[in-house]
Symmetry: C2
């Protein structure tokens, strides 16, 4: 049974419902189960997922490293762990959700899938659609950068550049999907959320965090991670929930704006502008659902500036991890929360590194290099 995250209304699982009549997103009820053994998170936590997950639809997503930050832990005075989602098959966390979404589409008998995305999710849906042999439609905004289109090309999806309001496109795609028999696995599809739970399961296998920091755009990732922890608690596998921290870019922060001003509903963020394009959604479809969870669970919402993001991206590089700007926001947020005394010294903090830095090379400056001739190379080593 799917239930509305706002009004609680129930919807049958037999039809492709994705949003409630009231406009808010749907979600599956909490699963309660016990973990088992297995090489992959999908096997170990099979009792927590809505269907048997098929290896033949998998590209090997999940079971990503949880890397302890050395320099940053010392510098920030916390135990900082980085959940490195850049090692997924299309190099972002989206693959976990797409894997579940593909199952859902096939379960309902769809032979066509699609998504609305300009970045990580586009590549992910194109890749999984190709592997499953489904016709795949990617709706991109008319302002998409050429490097992103190139990274989609090889998967062979049909790409449609849409001129018009990009926020509207989310809703329009669901409408068209119903008419044309295309299952749109958009950012906060209820089954995508189920896939993201696996991040929480993997974290808890290694540590019990005090804080989990989540770069947030549509709200899908946040909802999935929170649902995962709620299910772990419901199943008696953890005693307390961590405190959840939403991070947004200051230049596009509709959720933090509403949360920090005590509002119940998000408003469209005017003139969004940030270097963290992967989280630049001015009117996130799960924005209100995230707001509700933040209030219910005493969460936090933090905004960070582009300059801070770029600095954090470099700091993560010094830990050996090259992430896209959106993924670096967590480190900036933790720094702020430490300065404000919210996060206590020695706390165990997990920051989610959502996607690979290789995806967004354009803003990186070419490094300073020393130029030497082979003959006089030795003299160049005078550091």
């Amino acid at each position: 049974m799917l239930k509305c995250t706002a009004c609680g209304r129930g919807y049958s699982l037999r039809k492709p419902y994705q949003r409630c009549e009231c406009g808010e997103p749907l979600e599956l009820e909490l699963f309660k189960s016990v973990p088992g053994i297995g090489r992959r998170v999908w096997e170990r936590f099979s009792g927590f997922f809505p269907f048997d997950l098929k290896p033949e639809l998998s590209l090997g997503e999940g079971d990503t490293p949880l890397t302890k930050a050395k320099k940053l832990s010392k510098e920030l005075g916390v135990k900082l762990y980085l959940k490195n989602e850049t090692t997924n098959p299309t190099w972002s966390f989206k693959d976990r959700g797409t894997y579940l979404g593909i199952h859902r589409a096939l379960q309902l008998g769809f032979e066509k899938i699609g998504t609305v995305s300009t970045g990580n999710m586009a590549a992910s849906v194109a890749a999984y659609g190709a592997y499953a042999g489904l016709e795949t439609y990617i709706l991109v905004s008319s302002t998409i950068a050429e490097e992103k289109l190139k990274a989609l090309e090889v998967y062979g999806a049909k790409i449609i550049k849409v001129h018009g309001d990009y926020g509207e496109l989310y809703y329009k795609s669901l409408e068209i999907g119903q008419k044309k028999g295309i299952y749109f696995i958009n950012s906060d599809d209820p089954f995508r959320i189920e896939g993201y739970k696996s991040i929480s399961f993997e974290i808890i296998e290694e540590i019990t965090p005090d804080y989990v920091v989540i770069p947030t755009s549509s709200g899908g990732l946040f909802r999935g991670i929170v649902k995962g922890f709620l299910e772990l608690k419901e199943s008696g596998l953890i005693e307390n929930l961590p405190r959840f921290v939403v991070v947004q870019a200051e230049g596009c922060s509709p959720i933090c704006k509403a949360f920090n001003s005590g509002k119940d509903r998000i408003e469209r963020f005017e003139s969004p502008h940030t270097i963290a394009h992967a989280i630049e959604n001015p009117y996130p479809p799960s924005g209100n659902a995230v707001l509700r969870r933040l209030r219910e669970l005493d969460g936090l919402c933090v905004t960070v500036r582009d300059g801070e993001i770029l600095e954090a991206q470099r700091a993560l590089g010094r830990e050996g991890l090259f992430v896209q700007p959106a993924s670096a926001t967590g480190v900036s947020a933790i720094r702020k929360l430490r300065e404000r005394g919210v996060i206590k010294e020695g706390a165990k903090v997990v920051s989610i590194l959502t996607g690979a830095g290789l995806k967004t090379l354009s803003h990186i400056e070419a490094p300073k290099v020393e130029e030497c001739s082979l003959e006089s190379l030795e003299e160049c080593f005078r550091w």
Copy 2:
């Protein structure tokens, strides 16, 4: 004890020997052990590695997916498995070797490391050097593309552009390293080879291949994979070795040229030119060692053209995997060997996908896209 792969001369492990006086590469003797349990390949096969591997030096390399190719298996008439090394922390197989190399540098008391590379290995050594807190020197060729320099920037390594013969630079760096106290973890360092063995161990945990196809440049990856299988056989874990296939680009194929003309030693390949830059080494330092192994084990050496490589890159995209051109060479080689009747129908073939396609976007053409307005979007769905 390190032994020369050519003359068999032994060298103490206490000193940073990397090559024999005769000029050929050194290698550790075969390990014989039994696998155990553990989440990571380094734990399960700990008895096969030369030292205790430290989690605090690891960025989570290894344990990559082995993905069954669906369309290509049918098309080529084999059971094709793709070892997806693009999901490593710096998105190439190099991380496995760097992980071991860092251990070696620290074991010998070095506080500085380096490498000679223009691509995958540069990023890998820069990342692991940063994580281990070591001063790291990356020697790149003067013709390096800006996108590659950008991908190195964040790790904070010292980058030196060297003007002069790039093949010479390998030997020159070892010389300078000895004088300046820098451990150069170059392409075929004996401990790098030890790291690559883990690929063989992971393959054998899932299937028993008839063929393993390896894109080959310096020869380090090939040597590591072969050594892994030899150790599995020596330990009684497999009965027969797979047949090993070296693939090179036709425009830079010094090993195949020597092998297929019956020569004992490789010669410098004149005017190398291929789109598969990651395997464009005209005078590979382990070239003769690879030649010896190919003869000893009845291996194969196949060359493929740039056009075939690009076609294979797209075919792999249709399996949901976006690889760099060098990684696609394996598929082209398998196609040739099937056409020639060398690989029999139904054989189990593993092709190693060495690195991520995101690393080399420049040669990809922007895809054809449909342009639509939001209002008339529905009419655009007329495929």
